[in-house]
Symmetry: C2
Subunit: 434 residues, 2 copies
C-alpha cells in the first residue's frame, strides 16, 4: 500500500479512534508497556545491529548515545508510558456549554485533531514516547524516525502496534513510514493528514514547511538571547550565561546571542571572558564588540567579525554571538529583529526594566533572571512534550498533549430554524451553563 | 511606501499596540464612534459615488444592498462598536500560573497575535467591524476591502485611523491597502504579518492559502449537509430543511446536500418536494435519487444527474444535492468524504443514532434537530465574529475575538540554571497557583 492509501484509511479510522474510551486507550498503553518488557531481548538485539552499522559509519559518540537503546533507556520509556497513562483523559472535556435559547444548547467539546504525521530524529525512545502520546490523545499517527535506528524502530513499532490493536484500537491507528522517499509522499497527503510535527535540523523543518499544505507545528530556528542589563546581579548572570550556553549547546533553547548593556561592559566582560574560556565557549561579535572582547581576552571563534545579518545565526555549538547595546530598548529591538521568537531572557534586578522587556519582546518565552534552557515541556510540568512551537497560532512555546487536541461544536436543538430569529419571532438569551 | 515597508513598521509597532491599556483602546473606539457620527455626511456622499459607479456597472440589486452605507447601516455599526467596547479586555489574562520550584514562577499570559491582514468583501460595515475588533484585541491590522466600495472605504478608514491615533494608539496601528496588486505583495510579508484572514469566494480563499507562507484562518468551501434519519420528526425536518437551504442560500452555512434515509424516502420525498417547490429550490442527485425525485415531482436543476465527485459542490444558490443513504452510518461516511468539515446536521428523535452522528462526523459543527444556518459567531453569542474556520488548528468553527489572541510564557526566576536540575541539586515541584 502507498502512504497515501494508508493515510486515507487512517482518516477513515480516526473517528473510531476518537470514539475509543479512556479505558481502552489506557489498556493499550498497558499492553504496550508489558509487550516492550516481554520483548526486550529482540529490541536490544535490533539496537545492537543499528549500533554496529553506526560504528562502521564512524558515527560520533554523542550521536551513538542517542541511538543506543538499553535497559536504562527501556526503563525510562516505561516510566514515560506510566506517566502518560496517569494523565487525565484529554478527550470529551466540555469547554463551553451555553444555552442559546430554550432547548437550544451549544457545547464546545475537546476532540483529537485526527491524523498526525510525526517525523523525528534517530532516537528509539522518541518513537515510544510519540506513539504513547498519540494513543492517549486519541489521534491516529504516521511515524517516520531517523534511518540510523531503523532496525530498532522496526521492532519497537511492530510491538507497539500489535499491542495497541490487541487492546482493541483500530487497525489503522498507527503506521510507520520507513523509506526516506515516503516523507515527500506524506507531504502530499493534505486531504487526510491534519497536522505535521517535524523535529530535526532547521533546514529539514524549513523544507517540510515549504513543501506541504498540511499545517506544520514546530520550529525551524532557535536563536535565543540573554540580555545582561546594567542592573543585573553580575555573579548570577555569569552562572546563568554559562548554563544557557553550555549545559546542552545543541538544544534549540540554548542561548546563541549574549547582549550586554554598554553601561557595564567594561566591568562585566573580563569576568565573562574567564567564565566562557573555562567552558571553551568561543565568541563572535560586530566591530565594536570585537574590540571590547579582544581587550577582555575572550576565546575568539573562527571568522569572529559579524555583520548585522550574521546575528540571525544559530550555532548549536559552543559559540556565542556578542553585542553591546544601549540598555533594554536596544536589546528588545535587536531580539525582535534578529531572534526567532523562541525564548529570550533578561538578567536584571530592576523591576521596571524587566517589565518592559517581558512586555515588548515578541517571543514564545520571555524570561527574567534564569536560563533560556528552561524552555521545555517537561520543565514546564506538562508531563510529556510534543515539541516547541514558534508559531503564534494553535500552540506556542513548549507543547504538551493539548497541542494534539482541537474541539468541535455540538448544537442540540428541538426544531429551531434561523428564520424565526431573523424575523424576531424568537430571540437568543445566551446563558452559560458552566 | 510599499506594503512591505508598512508591514515592517507595523511589526515594530505591534508590541506597543499590545502594551496599550484597555482604557486607551476603549477610548480609541469611543473616538471612532464619535468621529463616524460627526462625519456621516462625507461618508454618505462617498457611498453615493460608489453606488453610482455600481449602477453604471449594472451591479445586481443584492450586491448593491451590501454596498450601501446609510443611516441604518451607520447606526448598526455604531451599536457594534459599543458592543466591542463592552467586551472584557482580552489582553493580559493569566491562563496558567505555576510555581516550577521555589522562586521560579511560570505564567502563560494572553497576548495579541500581532499583525493581522484581513481581506474582505465589498461591505463598508465590515471595515468598521474588523477595525474595531483589531483595536480592542490590541492587534495591528492591514485591511483590504472590495474595490466596489473604495470611496466609502477610503473615508471610513481615514476617519477611523485618525481617531485611533488621536486617542493615543501607535501611528502604525492600521493600514489600508487599496490596490488589488497589493494583495500579492501582502502575501509575501511572512516575516512581518502573523495571520491572514481572507473572506470571500472559495476560489479567492484557496488562492490566498496556496500563495503565502503566512498562516491563514478561514474556510474555502462550505459544503454543509443535513441528514434526515428514519426516526426524524418529519414535519420539523421540512421546516429545518427549508430554513437551512433557503433562509440565506449564499451563506457558507446553508445546507448544500440533503441526505435521506432510504427507509423513509418513499413517504418523505413527496412532502419535501412540495416544500422545496414552494421556495423555488431545484434539486440534483445521483441515478437512484434522481429516479426517486422524479417520482416525487421535484423541480430539477439544470444538469440534474450527479456523479460521485459532484457531491463536493457548493452551490450558494437555491439548488440542493440529494442522496439516499442506508441509515446514519452511510450518512456519516458520505459527510466525512464529501463535506468540507464546516457544519453538518442530523434530524432524528433517536438518541443513539444522534450520539453516533455527533461523535463520528469530523466537522467544526455537528448539529441535532436544528438548521445548519446557526453556525455563526453572533448566534453562538461571541458578540463579534472574525470568521469561520474549517481548520483544526488554532480556532475551529465560528471565531470570536479570542481567535485574534495567542499567549506567551513568562518565566520569572532568581538565578536558576538548568544544570542544577539535571544534576539533581534542585528539583521541580510544579504547584499551580491558580
Amino acid at each position: 500500500m502507498t502512504i497515501q492509501e494508508e493515510a486515507h484509511r487512517m482518516k477513515l479510522a480516526s473517528p473510531l479512534m476518537a470514539a475509543s474510551s479512556a479505558e481502552e486507550r489506557n489498556r493499550a498503553l498497558a499492553e504496550i508497556r508489558d509487550a516492550l518488557t516481554g520483548h526486550k531481548k529482540e529490541i536490544f538485539d535490533a539496537n545492537r545491529a543499528d549500533l554496529a552499522r553506526a560504528d562502521a559509519d564512524a558515527v560520533s559518540d554523542s550521536v551513538k548515545k542517542r541511538l543506543r537503546f538499553d535497559e536504562k533507556k527501556l526503563s525510562s520509556v516505561l516510566a514515560g508510558i506510566d506517566q502518560v497513562m496517569s494523565l487525565p483523559d484529554p478527550i470529551g472535556k466540555v469547554l463551553l456549554d451555553r444555552e442559546l435559547d430554550q432547548n437550544l444548547e451549544l457545547r464546545r467539546v475537546r476532540v483529537p485533531i485526527g491524523v498526525i504525521g510525526v517525523i523525528f530524529e534517530a532516537r528509539p525512545d522518541a518513537l515510544v514516547q510519540i506513539s504513547s502520546l498519540c494513543i492517549k490523545s486519541g489521534n491516529c499517527a504516521i511515524l517516520k524516525g531517523g534511518r540510523e535506528t531503523k532496525e530498532t524502530n522496526r521492532i519497537l513499532f511492530s510491538i507497539i502496534k500489535d499491542a495497541a490493536v490487541r487492546a482493541g484500537l483500530p487497525a489503522s491507528c498507527l503506521y510507520q513510514a520507513e523509506a526516506h522517499s515516503e516523507i515527500d509522499e506524506l507531504l502530499q497527503c493534505d486531504r487526510d493528514v491534519d497536522l505535521l510535527i517535524p523535529r530535526g535540523s532547521n533546514a529539514f523543518v524549513r523544507y517540510i514547511m515549504d513543501h506541504t499544505r498540511i499545517p506544520v507545528m514546530g520550529h525551524a530556528d532557535g536563536v535565543c538571547h540573554t540580555y545582561v542589563d546594567r542592573d543585573a546581579d553580575q555573579d548570577a548572570a555569569l552562572r546563568i550565561l554559562v548554563d544557557a550556553k553550555t549545559q546542552y549547546a545543541a538544544a534549540c533553547n540554548a542561548t546563541e546571542t549574549v547582549l550586554i548593556d554598554r553601561a557595564i561592559a567594561g566591568y562585566f566582560l573580563p569576568k565573562l571572558s574567564r567564565a566562557f574560556r573555562e567552558e571553551g565557549v568561543r565568541v563572535r561579535g560586530n566591530q565594536e564588540s570585537l574590540e571590547a572582547l579582544k581587550k577582555a581576552d575572550f576565546l575568539l571563534a573562527e571568522d569572529p567579525l559579524m555583520q548585522d545579518e550574521d546575528y540571525h545565526k544559530e550555532y548549536l555549538d559552543l559559540v556565542a554571538s556578542v553585542k553591546l547595546v544601549d540598555g533594554v530598548k536596544e536589546a528588545v529591538s535587536h531580539i525582535n529583529r534578529f531572534g526567532s521568537h523562541h525564548t529570550d531572557a533578561i538578567l536584571t534586578e530592576n523591576d521596571r526594566t524587566a517589565a518592559y522587556f517581558l512586555q515588548m519582546v515578541d517571543s514564545a518565552g520571555v524570561y527574567r533572571n534564569c536560563s533560556t534552557r528552561f524552555a521545555d515541556g517537561f520543565r514546564y510540568g506538562f508531563g510529556a512534550e510534543v515539541g516547541i512551537s514558534t508559531s503564534k497560532l494553535h500552540a506556542r512555546g513548549p507543547v504538551g498533549m493539548e497541542g494534539l487536541m482541537t474541539y468541535k461544536y455540538e448544537l442540540i436543538g428541538h426544531g429551531q430554524i434561523v428564520g424565526d430569529y431573523a424575523d424576531g419571532k424568537a430571540s437568543f438569551h445566551f446563558r452559560d451553563l458552566i
